[in-house]
Structures are given as structure tokens and as C-alpha cells.
Symmetry: C2
Subunit: 335 residues, 2 copies
């Protein structure tokens, strides 16, 4: 059975239309080609921040357009990269006086399409650089030519870059900093049930009873193996240790994302969050900022992911700087 | 297979602990008995707003505690009413100089437990009144002694009451107004797959392929009949007409809630939202305020609900007044 309610061909366009209706003060919808831009930005910002990728991961990226985060988001069809023409047009519209920074999750299609768009922007005389997000430790294997997948860390990198861009940094400084943000981030994801296949209905893959797909991707990419469910406390402790162990720099102070993969309830995610905090506390790691909710799902997959970013000097200010997007609000400090 | 990651007995307490860790500036967790209170409130507010009910519907109610909305939330176990002692203690803590208003979804257990707590509060000398939310038109049947169930409209009523309370209204004015808000609201819900049973795993009820449970409740209460899926556009048009037809007053200007029941993606909900707006526009109904997302789910059910509230004079100001809670932010108007 198909448990999705997607209208046939124009699901993504309709959904963006719905989102723009919800936030007319924040978002402007462009239809040909399809992309979203923000209506407001901090006047100090010199670089437009543009991200995008396949749909089915909402609120990523469209829900993060607004002052303090992205200037434009470019959606592909479900689990498919956007066309370079969409990225090119969105980037022209969103460019600042110092150009455009592309925030790209590490998938071949996205790299290619953002790459072609970047060439076209350079031909237009618009400076452009790229930050590649590649946080998924399940794909950290020297035998994989494409490298680690980009997953949950994208939200953290987009928020940090938004805060940094609002300080008035130039393109090269921002791109270098963004690469540091991405390098300092690792994630792992676990699923108890696959997402519904939007094309044929039913579960995109089958898991035996009481078995977890450990190291699953946000498009339902299978893990190396399915594991018996060890119980939530042991699972969370193991995930915490694995992510901590994969971070390139010692994690004294971190940003934490506990992310739902679609069908996992807030009740579960907050319970997982409490367990992660206990595990981090025992290991002497301070959580300086956090986000708990469904931010980078894989359609309606049952599962969750854990992301940690080791904080560098000054980064917490970028995290805490004001932002107002459909899915993310940080208020101005109370006067 | 159990697709939930709930830790055995203390899921609700752990989740509240996680939520309080996420929002230490907004929330204070009380453990014996278990409830949440807000750390800040508008000094003009004279009445404490307290809501609660079974868990499994998050962000309802815990995610709506904060300035501009609730002063306390009281969680029961999954799909079970809280104990009157929790409600009594939370109400004492949250009471304003004019007392406490209880916002209660119309279920027998909640009515009884909030009722006992109200008696105890009166014995303590604390004035208390109740607003009963009963919006679900699928249960609008003279043969049902308990009346209509309370579902999605609860969020709209809680926000409207928060805005009204912040104008400094007294208890009786606020209770009477809240009853008007609830009376002006109707909802209907549809499911394509039941939630996971937290006790035994697996789907709480079975639906044949390509069949919808039309008129389902937020605890998985079955509808009178399962219907063949007519396709999303026809389904939305039918739901819109049915809710409009059930509203007691002519709907010129409405608040709209498009609510996910758990496993339904934002992509779907925003596409549904765009279709609802088209349908309302055709029928000459103006949407003055809206909320689109997973606000009152039934654990991980696949489906969505549609709620409309006919706006009375001055109510839009209550809707638009500033609020800051984990799940709901309305910024101060830009200066």
C-alpha cells in the first residue's frame, strides 16, 4: 500500500507553493525554473547562501530560507538532484556583492549540477565557491570514490554559515570557514522501517522483525548489515561513542542534532535526546547548542540520526545569532 | 515489528527531560508529580493557562508552553489521561492572580481528571474554569453521549487563548471567549495507515490497500467506514466542504490548520495545504492565519487532519500576538 499522499507529478511545486503561502513575509516562490528565495536578509551579508538537493527531506532546504540562514533553496524531485538551470537562476537572484556560496550535500548528482551552475555563474562574472557537507560516518570507507554522504550536519552547517555570513565575511573567508564546519561534523543514522517508495508504494526495503538498519542513508541507502535491536539505551550509547570516535578533533564542546528520519515521534526523539545527553555527560562532552526534531528526514522512514559538530573558537556566536526561517527561529537577545 | 523506539516505562518523563534540556530558558520540569511550567509570562496575564492529556501527540501540549501560550502542560502516559494530582500541582504552580483556566480535549478520562483537579483547586481557594475543545466532526452524532472528540483545534484554541490572556482579561471573560473559540472550530482526519501500537508493536489496525480511514481519531479510534482513496485533490475538496459545512457560523475569514498525524511528510502537508487554499479560495473563504505541520499527531499514523476556525471580531489580534514556545513562534512586529 502507498502510505504517501503525494499528488502525482507536481508534488514538489505544490508543496513549495504551500510553504510560500504559509510564510509570505519570508519567502518568494519562483516557478520557471522552480526555486525559493528569501525576502529579507541582514544588510551586513555580502555573500548569498544557496543550498538545494532532492526533495523528500523537508524542512531541508526550503524550511531554512530566511534572515540568518539561507538566501535561496533549490529543490529537485523526490530524492533527485535539481537541474543546474534552477541552481543557476536561484544563485543569480540570491548573489550578494561578494557572490554566492553553494552548500552541497555530497552526492554525485548534486555535485555535478551545482558544478555546472557554478561554471555558468563564473561565466556571468559572479564569484562562487562551494562547501561540501559529508558527515555520514557509515560511508567513511577508503574504497568509496565518492566519499562520505552528506546528511544531518547540513542543517548545522547552514545555520553556522548563516551566522557567519551575517558578520559580513567575504566569499573566501566564508567558504573556508564552512569547510571547517563540515569537517568538524559526523553523523550516523539508524532505521527500524524503510520509507514508503513514492513510485511503487510499500516499504522501499524490508527489515526483519526487531532488526535495525544501522548506518542507513537519507534516501534509504542500505547499511552494510542489519543488526538485532540492542534496546534504546545501548543503541544510543553505541551511536554516541561511534560519532565521538569519528570526529577529527577532540570534542570538548559540541553542537548536537537529534534528527528524526520521518515517522519517528517527537516523544521518541526527545527521549533519545535525553539519553544522548546522559552519554555525552558521562564522557565529559559539553553540549553548547542543540536541535531536536525532524529536520532531515528520508520521507517517512522510522528512525533517527545523531550528529555532532566539534565547536571551534567563536563558532557558538554563529550558532546563537538571530535567525527566522519556517523551521528555525533564534530570537534576538532580550533587551 | 515495533517501529517505535520508546524506552520501556519512563518514555514520557525522559522525553520531557529532553524537551526541558532543549529549552532551558522557556521550560521548567517538575518530576513528582510530572508536569512542565513556563519560566516566563507576560506580566499583563492574570490567568494561568493549563492544558494536558495523553502523550503521543507531541508537540501538543508540552511544545506549546511559553510566553504567549500555555503556562503549564500536564502529560499522561501514551494515550492516557494525566492523574488529577499532576493537574492540581501544575495548576497551583501556574495560577495567576485571577486563577487558572483548564483547556481540555473532550475525552472522558481528561474530563474526569481535570474535573477532580478543579474541585481540589477550588478547595484551595484558587478560581478555576474550563474550556472544552470538541472539534472532530466525525463524532458529531446525537447518539454519542460524550459528544465530539477534541483534536487539532486544540492548538488554535491554545494560541488564541494565549493572545487573549496576554491582554489582561479576567477568568470568566477568558473562559467564555475560549468556549467561543472552541465552538467556532471543526476538524476531520483521514489515515492511510494506523499508528504503531506501543504495547504490542505492529499497526494498531489494518487497512486494505488503497483504502482510507475517513474520520479517524487521534488515538486511532476507527471511523464509521473505510473508503476507497478518491485521489488527493478530490479528498481535499471533500474534506474542505465537510468542515465548512459543519462550522456553526458562516466562514468568511478563518484560521486553518493542516495537521500531520505523525508519519506524513512536510512535503505532503504543504501540498495538501496548497490544495486546501485553492478549495477555500473557490468557495470565497479567506484564510487569515494558518499553521501547517505535525502539531497534533497520533504517534506515527500516516494521515492528516484539516481544522477551520471561523474568526470572530478581534480574534485575529489574539492569533497574531507574540508567542515563543518550542513549537510555535510569533515574532514581535518589526519596529
Amino acid at each position: 500500500m502507498n502510505r504517501l499522499f503525494l499528488p502525482a507529478d507536481n508534488a514538489v511545486e505544490r508543496a513549495l507553493q504551500g510553504l510560500a503561502l504559509t510564510h509570505p513575509d519570508l519567502l518568494e516562490l519562483h516557478r520557471d525554473p522552480l526555486y525559493l528565495t528569501g525576502r529579507r536578509r541582514n544588510p551586513a551579508r555580502r555573500v548569498g547562501l544557496v543550498s538545494g538537493g532532492g526533495s523528500g527531506h523537508e524542512p531541508l532546504h526550503s524550511g531554512f530560507v530566511g534572515p540568518g540562514m539561507l538566501d535561496a533553496a533549490v529543490p529537485g524531485r523526490v530524492f533527485a538532484s535539481p537541474h543546474n538551470r534552477q541552481i543557476h537562476e536561484a544563485s543569480k537572484k540570491a548573489a550578494g556583492p561578494d557572490g554566492v556560496l553553494h552548500i552541497v550535500k555530497n552526492y554525485t548528482g548534486d555535485r555535478i549540477n551545482f558544478g555546472i551552475a557554478a561554471e555558468r555563474l563564473r561565466a556571468d562574472g559572479i564569484p562562487v565557491r562551494r562547501v561540501l557537507v559529508d558527515d555520514d560516518l557509515a560511508t567513511d570507507d577508503a574504497s568509496t570514490a565518492t566519499g562520505r554522504r552528506g546528511t544531518g550536519a547540513t542543517v548545522l552547517v547552514e545555520k553556522l554559515l548563516g551566522g557567519a555570513a551575517d558578520t559580513g565575511l567575504g566569499l573566501d573567508e566564508l567558504a573556508d570557514l564552512g569547510t571547517l564546519f563540515a569537517d568538524a561534523s559526523r553523523s550516523v543514522a539508524v532505521a527500524a522501517r524503510a520509507q514508503t517508495s513514492p513510485s511503487r508504494g510499500g516499504e522501499a526495503f524490508e527489515l526483519p522483525d526487531n532488526t535495525l538498519e544501522y548506518g542507513v542513508g537519507i534516501h534509504g541507502e542500505r547499511a552494510a548489515e542489519a543488526l538485532p535491536n540492542p534496546g534504546l539505551e545501548d543503541l544510543v550509547a553505541h551511536m554516541t561513542d561511534q560519532v565521538l570516535g569519528a570526529l577529527p578533533h577532540a570534542a570538548d564542546s559540541v553542537l548536537l542534532l537529534v534528527n528524526g528520519l520521518g515517522a519517528t515521534t517527537l516523544l521518541e526523539l526527545q527521549a533519545v535526546h535525553a539519553l544522548v545527553c546522559e552519554a555525552l555527560d558521562k564522557r565529559g562532552v559539553h553540549v553548547a547548542g542543540r536541535l531536536v526534531g525532524t529536520y532531515v528526514p528520508a520521507l517517512d522512514m522510522s528512525g533517527f540520526s545523531l550528529t555532532l559538530t566539534t565547536l571551534g573558537a567563536g563558532w557558538l556566536d554563529f550558532w546563537n545569532s538571530p535567525a527566522h526561517t519556517p523551521a528555525f527561529t533564534v530570537l534576538e537577545p532580550t533587551r
